[in-house]
């Protein structure tokens, strides 16, 4: 049986965070299937196959790792749009943020996030958190119908 890697969409505006997250994911050989978007608008463009992502291979990511504070459209707004869209609403979304503020996590859950993870300052904790997230959502979890990994397997 061939296990296909499922695609992770990483919405993160800070290139340093992107590098650190990719480093952590590389430990589990998960980095190859990560698509990075650097603001909320780009994230939505990817999800809706618009703009520079027009004509990308179809299917939804197995998980969206979503930063909250991003330029143009913030993470909560991205989350809201995902949950309101019939094609996207089942896509797992994990908020990965610096914020421990109550209003952020309460609002995220209210909008239907699947998990809320605060990026730890300690690097080892950070790497472990990202690795576990990657492993869980891209390997262990069965994504909903319409996700990239499933589609490949179905064919």
């Amino acid at each position: 049986m061939i296990t296909e890697l499922k695609r992770i969409l990483l919405a993160e505006d800070d290139p340093r965070d992107v590098e650190l997250i990719m480093t952590a994911l590389a430990d589990y050989n998960l980095a190859n299937e990560v698509v990075v978007t650097y603001d909320g608008e780009e994230t939505l463009n990817y999800l809706y196959n618009r703009g520079k992502f027009q004509g990308r291979p179809g299917g939804n990511p197995a998980v969206v790792l979503l930063d909250l504070k991003m330029p143009k459209v913030n993470g909560l707004e991205v989350l809201r749009q995902i949950r309101q869209d019939d094609q996207l609403k089942m896509t797992p979304v994990v908020v990965l943020t610096s914020s421990r503020e109550e209003k952020d996590w309460v609002e995220s859950y209210r909008l239907g996030v699947n998990a809320y993870v605060v990026k730890p300052v300690d690097f080892h904790e950070f790497v472990n958190a990202v690795k576990e997230l990657g492993a869980f959502w891209a390997v262990i979890n069965e994504p909903p119908p319409g996700s990239i990994g499933n589609m490949k397997r179905a064919i």
């Binding site: 800070d14 340093r16 965070d17 480093t23 914020s99 990026k119 300052v121 690097f123 950070f126």
Partner: protein, 350 residues
Amino acid sequence: MEAQPAGGPEGSGDIGGRSLADRPLIVPLTITLLVMIIGMSLYQIAKYLLLPGLSLIKSNIITVFFSSTVATTAAYFILRRRQWLLQQILDELAARKKAEEKIKNLNKDLEYHITQLEAANSELESFSYSVSHDLRAPLRHIVGYADLLQKNSSSVLDETSCRYLQTIAGSAKRMGDLIDDLLTFSRIGRMEMQKTTFNVEQLVKEVLHDLQNETAGREIEWKIAPLPDVYGDRSLMRLALLNLISNAIKFSAPRSHAMIEIGLLQGKENEPAVFIRDNGVGFDMKYAHKLFGVFQRLHSAGEFEGTGIGLANVQRVIHRHGGRTWAEGAVGGGATFYFSIPNIRRMEDK
């Protein structure tokens, strides 16, 4: 408030609601006339009794003169009193108007201050929001990249350089802790209180359960007295007790036989106060005023861990309940921390 002026010497009770302003002038005139008639009659009687020889014209002139003098004087006093009462009413009205104006101004002031307070609060909120989001990110990067650097170049770096990198990461990590602590401290000040009545002893037991990891392997003799019910925010009070009790555990660590006592102080003059006493390292009373300050520590980081936010949190929680905190201690002689809040019940009241 001095909105109500004091009544006049003759009492302003007769001013009433409808008051003199509506009373017609006929009253003083009638009184004048009555006084004239009575005066005349009195004079006629007196004349016959005392001065039988006086002529009719003379006696009539004296009668008219006498009674008109009495009547005019009476009318004068009646009018004056009327004037005085009217003045009282006008004064009272003016005073009332002034008071109303004052209240209006005070209300305006109050509204202004509320707006200011709301603005300050929302500024504080967005400030801590931005601290939470933006300040922690660069720290995470410092720690992350220092760690990556160490991993990638451990073969070429000497021991000192490795230690430098560890220090960089360690310091950034500590700053992250400090920021988290400050955010918690600020949150304690801002969060809405949800007050209920709960039992302190029950809460202490829950906190002790939470602290099991910290007490593992330690020999601690606990003395927990019956504790009362209080009316307050349970989660905030839990945080205060957690800080106080974990301090007692921490600062009694050097003792092979630690003793921690939690009880209720109820002197006759003092308000009842909950206390937490340990036989730990204590502190110098000279620095007691510093204990509850933000990031104030009386021990070096090498001796005891911590950022120094715990007691500041405790004080903020107790202040928000309208209470106070204080402490007693001696170097090497243990420490006792007290807090009292309104509505704490004496045990016998239960």
